[in-house]
Structures are given as C-alpha cells and as structure tokens.
C-alpha cells in the first residue's frame, strides 16, 4: 500500500464516526478499527522490503516553489513508530468503546482520535520536514481536542490549553528551526538533509537551528523544563492518556530527534543539550512520581521520566545508545499503555484513581491485578521483563560515556531507584494490602472488552522480555538502522554477566524497595515541603500575560478619536517631512504673482475667520457662520483664480452643507463645553500648527515650481472643442475625458443619500424613536413657522430658480455650469420651498420619488456610456452633433448631455433625499403638521386639503 494512503486512511476514518454514529457506538468503533487495521496491514506489507534495507517512498509535489512536497517514506524507524501508533491505536479504539459511558459523545471522540492518529502517522511517514511540520501541529491541535474532550471538567479545559500552548510554542520554534535547517541543507527533503550532515554541522546557523528544533521536540516530549504540561493533560479520558501520553504523541519529539539523529547528533552541543536535559527530566520525573497519589499522575510523571531516559540515550550520540533508545521506546509503549489502561480500569470500576483511597484490590480484580503487576514490574526494570532489558542497556551506555561519566552514573542509578520505588508502589498500594470497605464504587473485574487490550500488551511485555531477539530484535535492528543510517544488528540478552550496569540495577531495585518502606514519612515530608507548583505558575503566567496584553491593548487603542487622528497627523507630518528632506527640491522657477489689495483683504478675512472659528468653535451657530465666511471666500477665490466652475460648485455645495448642519444642530447641543485640559489643547494646537506649517510650506514650494513634465491638460484644452464638442474645458473633462470619475462621483452622492435614508429609518424605530418623541427642544421658539412674505417670495423664487437651473444645465458644456450645479440649484430651490411652507405641505404637492431619481440618474449615466458599445467604442465614448429643428435655432446634442442628465438627476435626488431624511427626524420629534402653505392667510381663506 502506498505510504500516502496509509497516512490518509486514519483521516478518512475520522469522517466515519460522524457519518455512522447514528447506527450505534459499535459500528463507529468498528469502522475506526477497520480503518486503523487496514492502515496497519498496509504498513506491514512493506516489512519485507524494509528488512532488505530498502526505503519505500511515494508522494507528489505540493508546493514545489519552496520545497514543500507531500513526500512519504517508510524505513525502519517509520515502521516502528507506525506499528506503535496504529497497533496501540487499534487497542485503544477497542478499549475506548467500553471505557466511555453512554452519555459521552463517542462519535466525536473517535473523530478526534482518528484525526490524531492520522497526524501521528503523517509525522512518522513523511519525508519532508515542512510537510512534517503540518502533521506536527496537527497533533497539537487534535490532542487539544482530546484532552478537553470532557468539557465539563475544568482540569480538562485547562490541561488542554496548557498542552496546546506549550506544544504550540514548541511547534513554532520548530518551524523556525526546520526552515533554517532546510535553508542550510538546501532542501527540505529528509533524505537529503540526512545526507548533508557535514554541511549542516559546519554552518554558523547550526546551533540556532538545533536549539529551535530541540525546543520543539522537548516541548512535545515533555522534557524539562517543559515537562509540566503532561501531567495536566491527564485530565483527558484514560484511553487518550494511554494513547497520546504514553505511546504516541509524546514520542513524536523522540521520533524527531531520532529522525534527525544522523544530521544533527555527534556534536558537543547535541550531547550536552540533549543528554543533560534527558537526565534531568528522567530524574525529576521519577522523583515526583514517587509522591503522586493520583494513579494517572504517577504514571504521567513516570512517563516524563522514561521520556527523559530515551532523550538522554539519543543525546549520547553513539549508535549503541541509539539502539537502546529505540528498544526502550518499544518497551515503554507496551508497559506504559498497559498501565494506563489498568489505571483506567481501576478508575472505571473503583470510582477513584487516588492511591490513598485504594489498596487491596488483588482479590476483587484479579485479572487487572495480574496485568497491572506485570506491566509495573517491567516498568521497575525487574527481570525477565522487557523493561529490564532496555534499562540495562541504558545503564551500560551510561557506564561507557566519555564525558561526565560519574555524574551520569550516579544520577541514572538514582532515577532508576525512584523508578523502582513508584513502580512497586503502584503494585503495593493499589492491589496489595488490606481490602477496604469504602471504595466509591464496588470494584470488580471489568468485561473482556476492557481488559483484553492491556492484557495483550502485558503478554507482549513478557514475550519481549523472554525472547527479545525473536519478538522485537528485527524491529529494533530495522529502526536503529534507520536512525543511525548504518546497518545495525543488535543482540539483546537477558544476562550480560556481572557488569557495572547490573550492579547499578541491583542498587536501584534494592534502594527502591527500601524507599517504598519509608514512603509514609517521606510523603509527609513531601507534603510539608514548599515546592514550585508548575500549574499555578503556568496559570499565573498565562493570566498575567493575558492581562498584560489586555492592558497594553487598552493603553494603545483606547477608543479616543483624538489620539487616532493625532497619530495620523503626526505620522503624516513626520513621514512627509522625512520624504521631503531626503529628496532634493529644485530651484524656484515661477515668479510670484503680484498681491492685489482686494485679494489681500480676502486673505485677511479668511485668516481672521479661520482663527475665530477655532477660538469660537464652542459656540456652534457662530462657528457655522464663520464656516460660511470661509466657504464664501474660498469660492470667490476660485472665481478670482480663473475657476468659475469651482466657484459655482463650492458655493452651492456650501449652502447645502450649511442647511444640513443646521438641521443637525437643531438636535445637538448648541454649545460645546470646556472639557479638555489646557495641556491637551496645547498639544493639539502644536500638532495643528505643525501640520498647517508643513502643508502650507508644501503648497508654497509646489506653487513656485513648474511641472516636471508637460501636464496632460494641454491635450484637453486642445481637444475639448474639437473632439468633446464643448468650450467649457472643465465640464468637458468632467463629462467626457474623465466622465468615469464623474460616474463614480454621482454614485458616491447617491449612496450617501441612501445611507442617510437607511439610517433615518433605523433611528425612527425602537428606542431612539421613543427618545425622539419625548424630545424637548432647548430653544425658545418663535411663533410663526411659515411667514407669509417668505412664502409669497418663494412662490416667485422657485420658478425663477428652476429656469436658472435649466439654463445652467443646458449651458454647462460651453459655459460654467453643468448637470451637477444645475442639480444643486434645483435642489436649493426646492429646499427653499420646504423652508417656506414646511415639509408636509410641500411634500404632499410634489411627490418626487427621490430614490428613483438617484437610481434613474445612475442608470441614465451608465446607459449613456453603454450606448457607445453599439458604436463599437468603449464605455463612455462621447458623440455629438449639431441639429436644426424648424423654428428652433441650431442646437447641439451631445451624448455628454445624457450623461449630464444622469448627473443632474442623481444630484437632485441625493440632496433632496438626504435633507428630507434629516428633516423627517425633526418632524418625528415635532408635534404638528401644517395644512396651509403659510401660517395665516389674511384672506382667511383656507383651501380644501388634497
């Protein structure tokens, strides 16, 4: 079977429980089991080839640009780990089916489990370190889900997050490490990396890469100082612990170290970092395990210890040590998984995992007792079980070290001693001793489904112990060959003769037994001793980290608009000044225009009005009047400086804006209070002054220099009449050269009106509507709303303004004006009517559908543009001609006029809809609607209402 398929099968299996769970728990379990079994068989099919020393590879290019390829390989190491993962996985699936209760959503469990299994399989089978990283992180994620599976348990949630955080952090470090490694080696393919050991170890980046990769491996394999997450991950259901935290996930780090062993090992850095970390972990884990009352806690720390052991062996960097490491991986997986399952059975049946509450289960649960005892003895390293074999090998290697031999010997023996102690304690304090009366449940042996899996493993423990070479030797050889890169043939014997290792072992067993005897006083001392609690520290760190982040965020982004805009302004000024100063400004090329007295006066007025505006901005109506002055002068300035169109537009926009602001100001407070400190005002004034000076200087510098190249507008002046058919170049630009801009612009205006309308609709509902209805004006109001003379004058002004609007619209192409200004003029005229006779009265008489005007405007402009298509020309290509109708004078008809009509309609609709919406708010808050056009008609004649 293709390696890719093997890796894919568990993922495919992950889909099954979700689909099949309605058919029952057994079906789901069976489906997963089948997928796993298939994958296992598929893996084993390759055994003969591997035994011949071949490496099976397959895969395809995924992202060849950076060398991320979906390459798989099966060699001895992959075979070993694959077998562990899939084999124990199969047992776990069986075990979990019986372990989980009816209320647990088992489908979800199997999905997670299969995801995890797939990720692990991927790690061990893949041949590309980037690809490996993907599976690596996937194991972190799926284990997060598995640990947090019992979501009602706080320990589960916290443990899951802790595991995710620690392994995730490690994973990130590893990403960096792997990328560096790949950069050094020039490839991300494992096979090529393994072949370029010399290049890698000679690189100045070697240490960095090594440390980063090791951080990844250590976090995953719970090495000191990252070991603390593993015990807390034990909150997961026991099948998870048995699977992830004994057999598979935690071994991923070991796998990686083994995988990269040929490329990375053998240097002093490797030796000191890896082996010392392993040693410390081994010792520390074993020591703490002695004092753990929780069965799973004990096993967890023992796992930490054993992982340390293997790490240490890998760190030695010798081939023999590597063999020992590989062998211990197998052994540890068998006995530790069996032990976890046993612990799970005890928990399941007795209702507790606390050693203090247990004891004397030997009679009640004989099968469990046998299984547990065998496994525990193996863990203690008692001959003839498999644990003994690998431990002997470890001690032998320690004895043959070149550096730090004594330290390692003493500490390794000590660790073995503790290991014996807690293993024996597991047997003695759980199964032996007097039977108790008050177990939480009534303990008895479980059904076959629960014990067959650990039982199988216990048998393996014994078999490997007795016949190591036949049962496991070939596997060890194959994987050791893969690890070291050199063909290995190991010979494992129970009896090596009396050597240092045996003596150390004997010391450890004897010492362990003695220690167990002294357990009670030791435990008391342990309980009394102050010791750092990893979880508390971690939680505090995370909590404080979160708080710090929150605080920092809150400091930076505190919702203050002033700060945001100040940051913007300062950035702009700073960057602008930087850019200006790093460039070179050319010489001044334009003479200054003379300053005439009247413009000087206008300038003076502008400056004064601007200054007053800042000074008096708290008196809002006054500020509006001052804005009006500034706008007036700006538009006159435009007129003075040869821009009549701009003057027209500016002044008409200005008045609409003022009306808009007045409508809004009706509700807003009429004055702004002093709320800011002097200091803030000072800072703001400083920023403002800086910006003003900067921008003014830029403008001045710009105006005194000519264009760097001829501006494109020369062409426009030349062709405006010839090809655009209009003498007002600005208008021709607007409706023809850059008609597309105008198309966007009228859309903006239309959208603005739609937004305003939509917002009004929202405001007129719900809470704000009630507020509005209860609204009391602050203002003293005059008596007449629609003064007679105003009404009458408007009757005359409105038609006149309409005529003016038509004129401006028609003349726009040749003289200042155009659809936009015309639209505004008509809108202003209509507004005048609204002001004079009131909203309701006016609205009743002229139900212009403003929405439709906007829509029609946009459509008209677009359709005019599209019309050019039928001429085979692009969008908005204009055409024009002169037509003569009888009686009428010759007149020009340009398609641009259709476009301008669109502009006109859109502007009219938009302005009216916007102001209309605003005044609807006021009406909502008001009381009455007028029926007559004016407040009082002297003729006292009231017309009938429509």
């Amino acid at each position: 079977m293709s390696p890719a398929l093997i890796a894919l099968l568990p993922f495919a299996g992950a889909l099954l429980p979700g689909l099949l769970i309605r058919s029952g728990r057994n079906v789901a379990a069976f489906a997963c089991g089948t997928a796993t079994a298939l994958a296992l068989i598929g893996l084993w099919v390759h055994i003969p080839a591997i035994m011949r020393g071949e490496v099976v590879t397959a895969g395809f290019d995924w992202l060849p640009q950076i060398g991320l390829n979906a390459q798989f390989r099966i060699d001895g190491l992959a075979l070993l780990f694959g077998t562990l993962i899939l084999g124990i996985g199969l047992l776990i699936i069986l075990y979990a089916r019986h372990y989980l209760s009816r209320t647990d959503p088992i489908g979800k469990f199997y999905t997670y489990l299969m995801l995890f299994q797939g990720a692990m399989t991927g790690i061990v089978l893949c041949d590309n370190i980037l690809f490996l990283l993907i599976f690596w992180e996937l194991t972190s994620l799926s284990s997060f889900l598995l640990i947090g599976y019992w979501r009602h348990l706080p320990e589960g949630r916290q443990g899951a997050r802790m595991a995710l955080t620690v392994t995730g952090a490690g994973g990130l470090a590893m990403i960096a490490g792997m990328l560096i490694l790949g950069q050094i080696a020039g490839s991300y393919e494992i096979s090529e990396i393994l072949a370029s050991r010399d290049v890698i170890q000679a690189s100045p980046w070697y240490t960095t890469a090594l440390v980063l990769i090791l951080i990844g491996a250590f976090t995953k394999s719970a090495q000191f100082p990252f070991h603390f997450w593993l015990p807390h991950a034990m909150a997961a259901p026991t099948p998870v612990s048995a699977y992830l935290h004994s057999a598979t996930m935690v071994k991923a780090g070991l796998f990686l170290m083994a995988r990269l062993w040929p490329a990375l090992s053998g240097t002093p850095e490797w030796f000191y970092i890896v082996s010392i970390t392993g040693l410390i972990t081994m010792l520390l884990g074993a020591f703490i395990a002695v004092f753990k009352d929780d069965l799973k806690g004990l096993l967890a720390f023992s796992t930490v210890s054993h992982l340390g052991l293997i790490t240490m062996l890998l760190g030695f960097g010798t081939e023999a040590a590597a063999i020992a490491a590989v062998f211990h991986i197998i052994n540890h997986a068998t006995f530790k998984a069996a032990l976890f399952m046993t612990a799970g059975i005890i928990d399941h049946e007795a209702g507790t995992r606390s050693i203090r509450l247990l004891g004397g289960l030997r009679k009640l649960m004989p099968i469990t007792f046998v299984i547990g005892t065998i496994a525990a003895l193996s863990m203690a390293g008692i001959p003839p079980l498999n644990g003994f074999l690998s431990k002997e090998m470890m001690l032998y290697e320690v004895d043959h070290l070149d550096a730090m031999r004594q330290t390692f010997m003493v500490l390794a023996t000590l660790a073995a001693l503790f290991s014996v102690c807690y293993s024996l304690r597991f047997i003695a304090h759980v199964f032996l001793g007097p039977q108790r009366d008050e177990y939480p449940h009534k303990p008895h042996d479980p059904g076959l489904g629960l014990w067959v899996a650990p039982g199988f493993l216990a048998v393996l423990v014994v078999l490997i112990g007795l016949f190591p070479n036949t049962t496991a030797g070939w596997l060890v050889d194959a994987s050791a060959t893969a690890v070291t890169g050199v063909a290995q043939e190991s010979h494992i014997y129970l009896w090596h003769g009396v050597n240092a290792a045996l003596i150390m072992s004997i010391i450890a067993i004897a010492g362990g037994a003695v220690l167990l005897g002294l357990h009670r006083p030791l435990l008391a001392a342990w309980d009394a001793a102050p010791r750092p609690e990893a979880k508390a520290m971690f939680d505090a760190t995370i909590l404080n980290f979160g708080r710090l982040c929150g605080w920092l965020t809150d400091r930076i982004t505190n919702g203050s608009m002033g700060r945001a805009l100040a940051a913007l302004t300062v950035t702009v000024v700073f960057c602008g000044a930087l850019a200006w100063s790093t460039g070179s400004a050319g010489p001044i090329t334009r003479p200054m225009l003379p300053v005439e007295p009247v413009p000087l006066i206008a300038w003076f007025m502008l400056i004064v009005a601007t200054g007053c505006m800042v000074t008096f901005h708290r008196r809002r109506l006054l500020a509006l009047v001052l804005v009006g002055i500034v706008g007036l002068i700006v538009s006159v300035g435009f007129a003075y400086m040869s821009a009549p169109d701009l003057a027209l537009t500016q002044i008409s926009v200005e008045v609409v804006t003022i009306i808009l602001l007045l409508l809004a100001l009706n509700f807003l407070p009429k004055r702004t209070l002093f709320e800011t400190t002097d200091r803030r005002r000072g800072t703001d004034a400083f920023i403002a002054a800086l910006t003003g000076i900067g921008f003014g200087t830029l403008a001045y510098a710009m105006m005194r220099r000519d264009f760097g190249a001829d501006p494109i507008s020369g062409y426009m002046l030349e062709n405006s009449y010839k090809q655009g058919g209009g003498t007002n170049v600005v208008n021709v630009i607007l409706v023809d050269f850059r008609g597309y801009d105008t198309f966007g612009e009228i859309t903006v205006l239309g959208i603005a009106a739609l937004v305003i309308f939509a917002l009004t609709e929202t405001l007129l509902q719900g809470k704000s509507s009630r507020r509005l209805r209860n609204w009391v004006t602050e203002q003293r109001r005059a008596g007449d709303r629609h003064p007679l003379m105003l009404v009458v004058a408007t009757r005359l002004v409105l038609p006149v303004a309409l005529v003016v609007g038509i004129y401006i619209f028609l003349r726009g192409h040749n003289e200042p004006g155009g659809g936009f200004v015309a639209g505004l003029v008509v809108a202003i005229a209509l507004l005048m009517q609204y002001m004079a006779s009131g909203f309701a009265w006016t609205q009743r008489r002229q139900r212009l559908p403003y929405h439709a005007l906007i829509g029609a405007g946009v459509v008209a402009a677009a359709v005019t543009g599209v019309g050019a298509w039928f001429n085979g020309r692009p969008f908005l290509t204009s055409d024009y001609g002169y037509f003569k109708l009888p009686l009428l004078e010759e007149f020009e008809l340009a398609t641009a006029m259709g476009f301008d009509l669109g502009v006109f309609l859109c502007v009219l609709g938009a302005v009216m809809l916007a102001l209309n919406s605003l005044s609807r708010i006021a009406r909502h808050a008001g009381q009455t609607v007028n029926v007559d056009p004016m407040d009082s008609d002297p003729k006292n004649r009231r017309e009938a209402e429509v």
Partner: protein, 136 residues
C-alpha cells in the same frame, strides 16, 4: 458715445462704491441691531445695483464681447430677495432681543406673528402619518 459710456460707468462705479462702503460702515456704526439692519439692506443693495448697472453698460457698449443683459437679471434677483432677508433677520432680532410689550400692538388685537408663541390654531393640527412623507 464710448466716452460718454466710460464717464457714465466711472461715475456709477464711484457712487456705487461709496454706497457699498456706507452700507458696510453703517453695519459697524449704528447703535443697535434693528438700526443696523437698515444700512446694509439698502446701501449695499444700491451699491451692488450700481455696480451691476455699470457692468451692464460696459458689456452693452464697450466690451469686446457681444452685448449682455445678464446683470439685469442679477439685479432683479437681488431686489426680489433683499426684502425677504431683511424681514427674516428683523424677525430674528425681534425674537431674540425684543419683548412684545416693548412694541406697538397691532391695531386689531392679536399679536405680532413672531411672538405668537405656541398658538398654532387647533384646526391646523393633524395626526402623524409617517408613511406618507417618507420621500421615496
């Protein structure tokens, strides 16, 4: 002919300028809001009117462009609107600074419209009908 027009224009312009200035000066000089209202609405109106007339003559007689009657239009517009602005500002003044007691009362009783506070006749009141005035 052209000389006459030139002289005429110059005179009108000078006069208009003086009136314009006087109007604005009155705005500063006169003592209270109501009196200030007089100065600009008149003098400025005639000032601008003068300028417009001058411009009219200029374009009719002297300009290189064809004759233009535009200024007449603007004059009409200003003369049409000036009284209304004056009225509205006067009303604002009354509203802001005058009490009805300080004013002469209308002969037939009642009150000046500006002070007719809150006395909207019941006949003019009407219920809300929101959907009819949405404006779409």
């Amino acid at each position: 002919m052209e000389l006459i027009a030139e002289i005429l224009i110059s005179i009108i312009l000078v006069v208009a300028g003086i009136f314009g200035l006087v109007g604005s000066y009155g705005l500063v000089k006169l003592p209270d809001a109501m009196t200030r209202l007089h100065a600009p609405t008149k003098a400025a109106t005639l000032g601008v009117g003068g300028v417009l007339i001058a411009s009219l003559i200029w374009f009719l007689v002297l300009s290189e462009h064809h004759a233009s009657w535009h200024e007449l239009l603007i004059t009409i517009l200003i003369f049409l609107t000036a009284p209304i602005t004056g009225l509205m500002i006067a009303k604002s003044n009354l509203h802001l600074t005058w009490l009805p007691e300080d004013l002469p009362q209308p002969p037939n009783g009642g009150q000046w419209a500006t002070f007719d506070e809150g006395k909207i006749p019941p006949a003019l009141q009407e219920e809300h009908d929101p959907e009819s005035l949405r404006g779409d």
